[in-house]
């Protein structure tokens, strides 16, 4: 048949010469390569004890921020939930009572704020959408768990530790 392209290349397989048929020189070469790796540094990171350096813009677990007085910044506007492409965020808003003034910055706050970490794709759109600078993906890697329900993180896991009063 006429060749369809001009790129045809005939491969010539040379018969093995004596040294190649002996296997042994090639075997020695292979053994030398592997033993050189024996003394090289391991690429492994002992994960739970040692953690890899992450880049500055690396996105990990979410945290809900507090302001300089230790009040929660989130006002339960729902923009993060709206922007979330994976629909991982749900929240229930509540009205702040007068005695809760130290706890929440705005008059409206999130009584329930849940992120399903199995749905989350760590895109960071919630962080970008938030008008109150209340949510950042600055945490560590989300730890593993056994049950699906344990991956739905509530406010107990998400909200930052309160500021220590001086």
């Amino acid at each position: 048949m006429e060749p369809l392209t001009s790129k045809k290349k005939i491969l010539i397989q040379k018969p093995l010469n004596f040294a190649e048929r002996m296997y042994l020189p090639a075997l020695g070469k292979g053994l030398a390569i592997t033993i050189s790796h024996f003394f090289k540094k391991e690429a492994t990171i002992r994960y739970p004890e040692v953690q890899r350096e992450m880049s500055i813009n690396w996105r990990g677990m979410h945290s809900l921020k507090r302001d300089e007085d230790g009040k929660e910044r989130c006002t339960a506007c729902g923009l993060c939930a709206l922007s979330c492409p994976a629909e991982a965020i749900t929240m229930i808003a509540a009205e702040r009572k007068p005695e809760e003034k130290d706890l929440y910055r705005e008059e409206k706050y999130a009584a329930v704020y849940e992120i399903n970490m199995l749905r989350c794709i760590f895109c960071g759109l919630c962080e970008e959408a938030c008008p109150k600078e209340a949510i950042y993906l600055d945490g560590p890697i989300v730890p593993s768990d056994y049950l699906r329900k344990d991956f739905i993180y509530g406010k107990d896991k998400l909200v930052e530790e309160p500021l220590v009063k001086k």
């Binding site: 075997l27 292979g30 053994l31 592997t34 790796h37 024996f38 391991e42 690429a43 492994t44």
Partner: protein
């Protein structure tokens, strides 16, 4: 036969049995560590410091696993298989001289060898060729086509390589003039190791040893890509453990045999000087330590090769065995014979 002789032998047997089991256990750990280091990894390091308790954890896992005997398997043979593999792996150590005899202060000579039979080499051969029965019986009794194929491969491979192995040993026997392992070792006093007189024979022997122990690159009976698990596909729990364990004991025994036949056993250069320095009780123990160092070096070599080269194809295996190794072995026998005849004549 006095009672102290029986006690002495019993203790020696118990020690050797224990040592070979412990070495086999830690060979599994060493294999994983060596594999890891050769591949720039860490290997098991969670159980205990550096993971040294890993073999115990593995053993416990094997014991705890569910025991499954397939419905269509031949139950009796299915159970005999792993036991036979283990038995034949263990009895090979009986004729290996582990050290020169210890002379105690009371003048009693304790040989560090269970039995010095005058056909020690033949005994080793007999035991090694029995080893394939465990694999064959297990593979056949499983009533599984993969196991059966693996058993057939194991049998044909062992038969093919036993011929070349035997021929390489014949050349060695021409040099040593004896079949007793004790005498063979004593002839290699100091640095007169047989490998210097029989380098080609040693090369043939080590290649055949790889094939006989079903180690890579000749691990065709258990190649996962073709035969699932090979002859132990249907095995679970401690029966599987026995098969895996027997393989490592075989590796230990063949390393010991190679060290004994070709690398001078417990002999090392300067041993006479050491004997005058430390006395007749400590010196044999140093010799034993040297022997074990040689054995560990061989075991490391086994692992090193396994993680370096890929598996042979079945026809390449047969080609290598029958068309390459056997002619070379025969040529080796003839050349050795001629050289010995010439040396003796002049």
């Amino acid at each position: 036969m006095d009672i102290s002789f029986v006690i002495e032998k019993f203790i020696l047997v118990a020690i050797i049995f224990g040592i070979s089991l412990v070495i086999a256990m830690y060979s599994t750990y060493a294999e994983r560590k060596v594999a890891a280091f050769l591949q720039d990894r860490l290997g098991p390091d969670r159980a205990g410091p550096f993971g040294i308790l890993q073999p115990l954890a593995d053993g416990l896992k094997m014991f705890m696993k569910e025991e499954i005997i397939p419905t269509h398997a031949n139950k009796w043979l299915f159970m005999v298989g792993p036991g036979l593999a283990m038995l034949t792996a263990c009895i090979g150590t009986a004729v290996i001289p582990w050290g020169s005899p210890i002379t105690t202060a009371a003048g009693r000579v304790i040989p560090l060898q269970v039995t010095d039979i005058n056909v020690g080499v033949l005994y080793i051969f007999g035991v090694v060729s029995l080893g394939v029965y465990g694999v064959m019986i297990g593979g056949w009794a499983s009533n599984n086509k993969y196991s059966l194929l693996s058993a057939i491969r194991a049998a044909s491979q062992n038969i093919s390589y036993e011929v070349a192995m035997g021929l390489s040993i014949i050349a060695l026997l021409l040099v040593t003039n004896t079949m007793s392992l004790k005498e063979i070792v004593d002839m290699q006093h100091g640095w007169h190791w047989n490998v210097l007189y029989q380098p080609l024979g040693f090369l043939l022997f080590i290649i055949c040893a790889f094939a006989e122990t079903n180690r890579a690159p000749f691990d065709l009976p258990e190649c996962e890509t073709e035969l699932i698990g090979g002859y132990h596909t249907e095995y679970s729990s401690m029966k599987l453990g026995f098969y895996l364990f027997a393989e490592y004991i075989n590796m230990f025994v063949s390393s010991a045999v190679m060290a004994t036949l070709y690398f001078g056993g417990y002999n090392y250069p300067g041993m006479d000087w050491v004997l005058t320095q430390v006395g007749p009780v400590i010196a044999p123990l140093i010799g034993t330590a040297v022997l074990f160092a040689k054995i560990f070096a061989f075991i490391f070599f086994f692992m090193w090769v396994r993680w370096t080269i890929p598996r042979f194809r079945y026809d390449q295996l047969m080609h290598l065995g029958w068309k390459v190794l056997i002619p070379i072995a025969i040529a080796n026998v003839i050349i050795t014979g001629i050289v010995i005849a010439i040396v003796e004549k002049f």
